[in-house]
């Protein structure tokens, strides 16, 4: 359960920072009138905050999966799944889609409609390529004997990457909605906020993907072993 606890510790730090700005030690019964809400803060758009909270939930979900994975390592004789090389190519593809979306944000900011369209298209295509690549990787693993119903390490690989893929798919649907709106109202600056949200979501899923790879390849294992010796 180390991973989820570490993840929660980060969130607790963020929440604690936020709470520290809410004047928790003030005596509200002594104050009357309408004070400024939060002294210096420039308000975050609700959509952005909403996505932030949602990403925290997704982070919790994958941290939980990671914890379950590590719990299994303790409980059973464990053998990691050798990742096919394709997975690394997929990682590159996902990275590029994240970059394309970042271009899209810049394009939207500068009002360049054509560049925005092209970057979004490239982002979507490379994301699709990632998903196709993942399914191919699954097939390769299955044919080389690491089936879904086999050892738990393999099952975990399918489960976790599958859920990750589903989240990417959900992101594509959202991106499609943004695109539809853009097609009806071709004003790039209007779409800037929405495109930025897409990019943020992609970056977050890329980050999660990289952390998951660390888990699957056992990079994190030495560190985790240390934690286990402390926390079991």
């Amino acid at each position: 359960m180390n991973i989820i606890l570490a993840f929660l510790a980060v969130l607790v730090a963020i929440i604690g920072w936020w709470l520290s700005r809410q004047r928790l030690f003030s005596k509200p019964w002594l104050e009357t009138g309408v004070p400024p809400m939060i002294a210096e803060a420039s308000p975050v758009a609700p959509q952005k905050l909403g996505l932030g909270v949602f990403l925290a939930v997704i982070g919790g979900l994958f941290a939980m999966l990671g914890s379950a994975f590590v719990l299994q390592i303790d409980a059973t004789p464990w053998q990691l799944v050798p990742l096919p090389r394709l997975v690394w190519i997929n990682t590159g593809v996902l990275l590029s889609s994240s970059l394309f979306l970042q271009f899209a944000v810049t394009a939207a900011k500068q009002g360049e409609a054509q560049l925005l369209n092209w970057s979004l298209a490239a982002g979507a295509l490379s994301t699709l390529a990632f998903l196709v690549g993942q399914i191919t990787a699954w097939n390769m693993l299955t044919t080389s004997g690491y089936v879904l119903a086999g050892a738990p390490a393999a099952s975990f690989f399918y489960l976790i990457t599958g859920l990750h893929g589903l989240h990417i798919l959900g992101g594509l649907v959202a991106m499609g909605a943004v695109w539809l709106r853009l097609a009806r109202q071709p004003e790039p600056r209007e779409a800037q906020a929405a495109v930025a949200l897409c990019a943020l979501y992609w970056h977050a899923l890329l980050l999660i993907w990289i952390l998951l790879l660390a888990l699957f390849t056992g990079w994190g294992n030495e560190f985790l072993a240390l934690c286990r010796s402390v926390l079991r």
Binding site: V34, F54, V57, A75
Partner: protein
């Protein structure tokens, strides 16, 4: 006067969310069925939760019939009995309590109490309800599939949950249960995002966090916790679904069932328990914190006194919320996990008793030198304190690792958690419904029916669960279809069990009176006026009762004070509304 006094209307801070009227719905369907107005969604949530709760109530009757009068009712087979307890538990905890506190009260009260026109994402909010309804329907469907619903106990522990020795294990029952939970979590996440962002961003001008009523603090903290805890249940459900349908072995070690080797191997049943309780313990507080918040407000309003120690109450809510994530394994003291855990989790668990106790003291101290109106909400609040203190104190038995060893898995545990997270929060739900029904409908609930409902429910529920502790202390295990008369029991508990069962039947019947009252008063209730309890918080200051779409008419309210200005010295009345700019000058100054 006060230390800090901001000049009224000197320079208004900007709104974080622009004040736009949410779009009006056109047509009957969009207005009443696929409504995006949080107030309608709240009522939809609450009605659905109460309806499915009624099913769970009937299930509890059936299981009590078996326990009180074993062998009398032929149709209650062991299979049926285990199905009853499983569905009763799951429905009550998830589909009733969680849904009604967050989906029901959260949706209704958050926008009104923070001074917003609606939730921030109304469409997502609507979706949240419909997915919840779908989850409930899937759950209900499991009663009608071959093999019936799952009988794995509400904890759904593998391996038995998905094996043939358990009702529904190798049939559709467990699958539908897991699918329903997954849907519930997805739906809840949509609602939860709304509640959090609305509290953070849509508060009206002047409504600082430290001016929020404790109801909002409770619901807000509980929502944040739920958003972080439900993923654990989600993961556990998905993994078990894989085990059941796709032959993976996440939770399944190599095992021999009824002499037959199964194809599973390599998984760990304990891992499920960790995931389940990582959700399950925060879940207790996801239900309790909104109850804490609401009961604080009920006591303050009906004792005409500010809640004692408001700051402490806020800190306690936050601290309890954070600590509840590091106590989960106290449900697993006898699960066979490493004994080292016992020290850690017993300590954290007993530490959490301190902030909880502070909350209890502050409720009781609020009554001290108050002006206590013994209205129905106040009566239910008092009943909450009694049952919560009782159930909380027995928690100290079960949290203290070595004391838990003889008591775990006995009826003592059943009595404890029913008292603390069954009866106590439900008392708050009733109190809250009697309190806010006038705002929701414009009419008061019938007082005579309410009195009968209160006395039967409070005394009846106490008579059910207080003696049940002693049934457990004698050594009667929980989840026993039939115990018989084993030698270790010197005084048979049969009579006591029959008494408990009769009390359960009577208490259940009183709830039907309550539901009748809800419908009857809608038409025949006394006209309530806009602020029948003379309360300070914003929801009572709306221009219309019931509040219309957009809540606030022309312009959003401005908040000049905290939510607890009751009986302020020098004031003409015994309450000053939060949006009332006039502050009295008392003779001796305010503290």
């Amino acid at each position: 006067m006060g230390d800090i006094r901001h000049e009224a209307n000197a320079e208004l801070p900007p709104l974080e969310v622009p004040d736009v009227m949410p779009p009006h719905a056109h047509g009957w369907w969009a207005k009443y069925v696929f409504s995006q107005d949080a107030k309608y969604i709240a009522v939809q949530y609450a009605c659905t939760a109460l309806a499915i709760g009624l099913v769970a109530l009937v299930l509890s009757w059936l299981m009590r019939l078996q326990l009180g009068f074993p062998g009398v009712f032929d149709f209650i087979t062991p299979e049926a009995y285990y199905q009853f307890i499983t569905m009763h538990g799951m429905i009550m905890v998830i589909y009733l309590l969680t849904a009604i506190f967050l989906g029901g009260f959260g949706n209704y009260l958050i926008p009104l109490m923070v001074g917003a026109r609606d939730m921030v994402f109304p469409f997502v909010n609507m979706l949240s309800y419909w997915i919840y309804l779908l989850a409930v329907l899937v759950l209900v469907a499991s009663f009608f599939v071959p093999g019936g619903p799952t009988g794995a106990g509400w904890t759904l522990y593998p391996p038995q949950a998905i094996l043939s020795g358990t009702p529904g294990g190798q049939q559709a029952g467990i699958v539908l249960m897991l699918v329903s939970l997954i849907l519930f979590i997805i739906g809840f996440t949509m609602g939860g995002l709304n509640y959090v962002v609305t509290v953070l961003q849509a508060r009206t001008r002047g409504m600082t966090m430290m001016r929020l009523p404790l109801t909002i603090w409770g619901i807000f903290t509980a929502t944040v916790m739920a958003l972080l805890a439900f993923p654990a249940l989600f993961v556990a459900c998905v993994m078990m679904l894989f085990d059941r349908l796709l032959g993976t072995s996440f939770f399944m070690p190599m095992l021999v069932e009824m002499g037959e080797k199964l194809s599973y191997g390599g998984g760990s049943p304990i891992a499920f328990q960790h995931l389940f309780w990582f959700f399950g313990h925060p879940e207790v507080y996801i239900v309790a914190l909104p109850a804490f918040g609401i009961v604080s407000d009920l006591i303050a309003v009906h004792a005409r006194k500010n809640i004692f120690g408001y700051r402490m109450m806020v800190w306690a809510i936050v601290i309890i919320g954070a600590l509840s994530f590091v106590v989960w394994a106290h449900h697993m003291y006898v699960s066979g996990m490493h004994p080292w855990f016992g020290y850690f989790f017993a300590t954290t668990t007993l530490i959490i008793a301190v902030p909880t106790a502070i909350k209890v003291y502050n409720w009781v101290l609020t009554l001290w030198r108050g002006d206590i109106h013994l209205t129905l909400p106040m009566l239910f609040a008092l009943a909450f304190i009694v049952t919560f203190v009782n159930g909380g104190l027995t928690g100290l038995f079960l949290g203290n690792v070595v004391v838990d060893v003889p008591l775990s898995d006995t009826m003592f545990v059943v009595a404890h958690f029913h008292m603390v997270m069954g009866v106590a929060p439900i008392m708050v739900i009733f109190g809250a419904i009697y309190h806010w029904y006038p705002k929701i409908t414009g009419r008061m609930l019938n007082e005579a029916m309410g009195q009968v409902h209160f006395w039967v429910t409070f005394l009846g529920a106490y008579a059910i669960f207080f003696p049940m502790h002693y049934v457990g202390l004698v050594g009667v295990p929980r989840r026993y279809y039939e115990l018989g008369e084993p030698a270790f029991i010197s005084t048979p508990v049969g009579g006591l069990n029959a008494f408990i069962s009769v009390a359960a039947l009577i208490v259940g019947a009183a709830q039907i009176l309550f539901l009748f009252n809800l419908g009857w008063s809608l038409r025949h209730g006394r006209d309530a006026g806009s602020n029948p309890w003379r309360a300070t918080s914003l929801e009572w200051q709306t221009p219309d009762t019931p509040p219309r779409h957009g809540n606030w008419g022309e312009s959003l309210p401005l908040v000049y004070r905290w939510a607890y200005d009751y009986s302020v010295p020098g004031a003409a009345e015994d309450f000053i509304a939060q949006n009332d700019p006039v502050t009295p000058e008392p003779p001796g100054g305010r503290l």
